[in-house]
Subunit: 461 residues, 2 copies
Amino acid sequence: MDEKMEFEEFLEKELRLVEEKKYIRARDELLQWKDADVAEVIEEVMDEISLNAAIILFRMLPKDDSADVFAYLPTEDQLAIIDGITEREISYIIDELDFDDKIDVLEELPANVVDKILEKTPKSERRQINTFLNYPENCAGTLMTPDYISLKANMTVRDALHHIKRVGMDSETVYTCYVKDEGRHLIGIIGLRKLVISDGSALIRDLMMTDIVSINVYEDQEDAYETFRKYGYMAIPVVDRENRLVGIITMDDILEVIEEETTEDIERMAGVVDDSTASYLDTSVLHHVKNRLPWLLALMLMYIITGAIIAGFETTLKEVICLTIYMPMLMGTGGNSGSQSATLIIRSMAVGDIDLQDGWRVLWKEIRVSVLLGIILSSVNFVRVMIEQHSDPRCFLIALTVCLSTIAVVVAAKCIGSMLPMLAKKIGVDPALMASPMISSLTDMVSVTTYFLLATMLLHI
Amino acid sequence: MDEKMEFEEFLEKELRLVEEKKYIRARDELLQWKDADVAEVIEEVMDEISLNAAIILFRMLPKDDSADVFAYLPTEDQLAIIDGITEREISYIIDELDFDDKIDVLEELPANVVDKILEKTPKSERRQINTFLNYPENCAGTLMTPDYISLKANMTVRDALHHIKRVGMDSETVYTCYVKDEGRHLIGIIGLRKLVISDGSALIRDLMMTDIVSINVYEDQEDAYETFRKYGYMAIPVVDRENRLVGIITMDDILEVIEEETTEDIERMAGVVDDSTASYLDTSVLHHVKNRLPWLLALMLMYIITGAIIAGFETTLKEVICLTIYMPMLMGTGGNSGSQSATLIIRSMAVGDIDLQDGWRVLWKEIRVSVLLGIILSSVNFVRVMIEQHSDPRCFLIALTVCLSTIAVVVAAKCIGSMLPMLAKKIGVDPALMASPMISSLTDMVSVTTYFLLATMLLHI
């Protein structure tokens, strides 16, 4: 906690220094901190003061540090900085980045800038970059790095350690080494730990693990995450269709995927379409409108049906106008009950606790839960209606209508809320779309229908 | 993808074999797969066939594999298996587990079982286990493992590698080594990579990094996750108040934390209280009721206010009964608009894109977005009302009421939806509680009030 407090204090101070244009002092103090901290300061300067101030501060960093700091910045901030610095500086930074960070930045840059940067890159690396840039979005290929240690099966441990000493410093992870045959096929894996504790003259062939978990380069990044989750490895090799090793994915790259995928899920569950990874504040007003309009409009149109149902019961309504008073409560409770179930099921499916075969068990559980909840909630409602309507001679019947509707609505909402996400999954639609907004709109129809039907029957209208 | 398909096929076959009680063949085929896969098969047998079948299969595993497979099982399944095997088998498995897995299992076991297991544990380990068991839930201390390599500053690289060779195989991660002084204070860090590529006679003191990011043992696990997220390290040391090294947390332990914390957030956002980590199907009906009742009931009671507002407008309603038709649409659209904003803000705050100082920028953005959305949605509504009510002489005024209400409701909902989570954070309440259910109930009040007020004014009732 102390470290965090200390950093917060430092951040305040830095913002003050930059605001007073004391850049030199701001820079000098900055250099005492870690790259990730420096990046956070620059991010905050950009947000709180101005892009220009952030660029000035960034350009004052020692050349050696600038690429490392750059790698820690969020993509939008990286692009903003690239717009503000010279081409020479861009080239230098891109050059210094780790291969996978390099690809991430190049992917977001306009084609003409990428071309200019690639012109200055050595031919072999240029070819490799181009291959990486061509992987479809969100596939394992876009997460991987080609910087890994590769060994040969007939090397001795001594040879291998010598080889690592020579090339090791450039590789993002040397802790797992990959053994390839002549055709670049992945045939084994050996950890640096094993090399260090083994006899120098032993052959890699005899020490390596041949029972390998790998990911196909075109697999979805969510599947890559699943593989990490299941096996708990720190790095997983990526192979092409012929089982040739093309790169590795390390666990820190997966952390970002988890965050992205979770945000996407949560946003979908609230009826927000989001096709970019830009942050809330960096998304324009028009883009926010575009992201939110489709679902709002679609759901609003669904209420034409609910409206028509109410219109059909106009006589009932005219007769007992106080029925309107309890309509919002019924709709709200239905929506909330349904959303609870939908959320629990969507999340359970996402983390693998439930699959489609569990359908009946889920339904049976939801029915029992909802009957119990319905009875408790409707007894509270009974008291409420009896108090509020005690002057009406039909108060008991009205209370009965509200109570029976409550039970029916809660049970229906929980069944719809739990089954719809599973049904969505079955037909290949993202279950997250069947969350709160969709469920509420559907349960509103059920609530209104049940309520007025029961009222018509019980009150003999 | 092929590997996955292959596993699914194998799983089906295993389930069939177990169902036919061909345990020996099931076991033999199982042994060709990885521990994580074996664990998944046992999990599925438990879910799909029976606990007994799963226990039989588990007990048939070779002794050496059983602890590794056990470590991959979810906690509930581990406890179920422990209930079904002998004390001797329990002791053996617990003994073989990595230290942090051991703590996880012991934490869940009843005290008398733990005591029995500890009786057979060597004294020094028993003391260590007891210390670990006493850390409060959800703190960094419960995630860490004491299995790490510690070096001394005056060792040479050769000494260090020799030391690692001797103790290395037992440590969960030897890739980062920790340098301690006589008082067990953490004074430096050095990666195995650095050791391997450095000269054998160099001193650790001269190679180690002294600029260390560490976590306090009592810090919340969510803060530990933040630290991993910020710096991207594979392992982070955990220290006590005197900066003495007590353990390390590795990134794979953090993956589980992320999942737990995200589930908790998502559930809270849907008004579900959940105090356990048990899966949906393993939670009893009564427990589900207990988790869902508080919010359902509280929100239902809030509708007493909405009901009272409607009751106050009974004359207006009686006069223009068709107003009721558009009430669900307005409430639904208000709820959905508010939920969208609330979700975006809650998530943005959770991943650190927005903090409390951004309040005014967020509000200004939401106002512009909501005015635009309101205008689009209300023009659709205008057409709808004009068509539906064309026989009513007051149809234009009714349409105007609905349209103006739509704009007002969307704007109000987006302001409430975005500001309430920030306000919650400011006063130290979890923003996730201010999501969809809470926001919908509040916007329902606003919708009803605005709608009937406008109707009364425009229609001169």
